[in-house]
Amino acid sequence: MMKSKENMVTVYIMGDAYNVPESSTIITAMEYSGFQLTTGVGCREGFCGACATIYREKGDYKLKGGLACQTVVTDGMTLAQIPFMPAEKPIYDLKELKPDINTIKELFPTIFRCVSCNTCTKACPQDIDVMDYIQALKKGNIAEAADISFDCIRCGLCALRCPAEIVQYNAATLARRLYGSYLAKKSPEVDESIEDIKAGKYDKELEELTKMDRKTLSEKYYARETKLR
């Protein structure tokens, strides 16, 4: 926990002023101020997208977005959390889809309203080129959209700021699933290993191992050859 001897700054949480240690992130600043969080908080390490927050810094007119667990407070910062995005999410059966532009058109018609303002990209706390992947999707380039959007954590800040009402992160999720399931090159070695296991290739030896006494098993373990790629 943070020590109170540290230099303090003032932050305005939903308008009210609180003194918090200057090294705080937005999450720890809120907790330091007495908020017991049940929403707008998740993994606390930048992987889950639960803590989307909008804030403004002293002397700046700009409304910025960030992850509360990753953003360090500044003196005079005013902030509010966006714990939930009431965004539209089309329901689909991946197995019924084709990995092409028609699928995108049908499930995400809003992306064709993109006005290329780049606000989504500026809003992204992961520094993803959100607009670029939306443009890729408009051209039916699913592989490119999947690649660019890969690090998306679905915090929702892009959709929140989009003047065209696009739900970028849901479109990106579909792009990645279409790529992973249809467009990525197949890995035949995986299927072959499954066949071998089904055919019982390892059954006898595995059975022996499960019955082996600790000493013999340990000897076998330390004697195994290591071959790393």
Binding site: Q36, R44, E45, I91, G180, S187, V190, I197, Y221, L228
Partner: protein, 557 residues
Amino acid sequence: MYPDYMLESIKKVEQTRPQRFELAKKHGKQVYPPMGEKERGDILANYHPDYKDDALREVQVGPNKGEKLTAKVSDMLESHTRIDPKKFDLNKPDHVTDVLVIGAGSAGMSAAITAAGNGSKVIIATKLRLGDSNSMMAQGGIQAADQKDDSPILHYLDIMGGGHFDNKPELVKAFVKDAPSAIKWLSDLGVMFDKNPDGSMMVKPGGGTCRSRMHSTRDYTGAGICRVLRDEVYNLPDKIKYLEYNPVVELILDDKGQAAGAITYHLGTKQYSIIKAKSVIISTGGYGRLHIRGYETTNHYGATADGLMLAYRAGVKLLYMDSVQYHPTGAIFPEQIVGFLCTEKIRTMGAQPVNKNGELFVYPLEPRDVEASSFIRESHERNLGITTPKGLRGIWLDSPLVDMINGEGAINKYLPAMHRQYARFDIDIAKYPMLVFPTLHYQNGGIEINKDAETTIPGLYVAGEATGGVHGRNRLMGNSQMDLIVFGRRSGLHASERVKKGVKFGKMSLEHVYSYEKEVDEINIDKNKIAPILLPDYIPNHVKEKQVDTEYFGTLI
């Protein structure tokens, strides 16, 4: 950026780097001799936190009574229930379903999708949002022996050796046999595994593996999997209903001793609900937020071992709850990311741990408990660590080697999460090493299950980190991600098969809550100490003193 005194030490790391790079070119990953059985035993006994005198304490109540468990776990288990059982009319359930899944990480969602696919109506009750879990945060990889130079036999040996041969053999056997089909299942669902240009899986080694069998989705492997499963759950609204911000606070049994449902508590509206279910699956994850021995943790905000408490109070035994996993490489600088995970994948791609003089002191890919112990020895006993301005001490993980070994840009391409994490604090890990020390990471033990993921209570299943036995007393990298899928699917399958066979309910009952309460009363536990804990409590004392009548979710003591 690093302060000047750290940059002085980094200069020494830079000086030894060319030699160490030559070593890597010559010997691959084996730049330092791996430890044998005796050396491993010695270093664990002397330096691993589990071996400290006060690490364990006999638990005084419940099915493991008299057994020595991790002290903080014993503390938690000796707690009162959150509910007054008298106030619940179990004949009036708010929801009725075939399968109830408690917790919505990758294990729970795999279970739900599998059970739904097998014809069951499913309800997921989860504490925070769908997908909010340790699963989402995993970075490095997922193990499966699906390569030509590998086999389930070798995978079996690695798991058993890594777990000090304490693993439950039937679970490990099921695990290694299911693993390749689990990879296929995930691929078909659209998980974007890293692949070589010819389509074959791009695999890396992990600590304690004898082959390269670590599959990954960059360094977002957990998210790469978990977000696909979540999208699939979203796509099955007719089959799977999910209740968010609704942690389960007690299980319901029937008077025949079968699982019959659970009671949930809504974190926002404070309402309790009764769910009646023919099969119940616990997939609530681990306990990092208990901050065992004061350690920082890599874990999710909700990782408070709720499932352990639920099952234990209902009478299920816990296995290997004397064994804690500290991940060797937790960040200790900058202070905002202290305790955060620096994925093992950094080492599998060639990064080397070195001391303040830039010297190698351990094989970079020992099993985690051994690796972590060697970091503790180097930092403290040998006094060759680097101390942060906040007084923490650790060693360097020399990450720039990753680009030297794998080509410029490798960090950016394959470790984007790590790169981003440090870039946020103006540190480029392609140019500068990372300061690390062990951090509380994983619950090695847990609720005992059989190969069908079933407990000793008929109809009660467990999957994922909440279980014990698969990993013995030490889990290897990438085997938790696979555990979630293998036993998530197994639990979903068997829970739904049970539904198909037909379940005859007896009278719904909370008798187990009454009788556990009696045991807890007998040892005079403070009435305010309750579990499941639900959420940790990070409000500072000077504020809490003024929150006179605040109701805390977090009951950490």
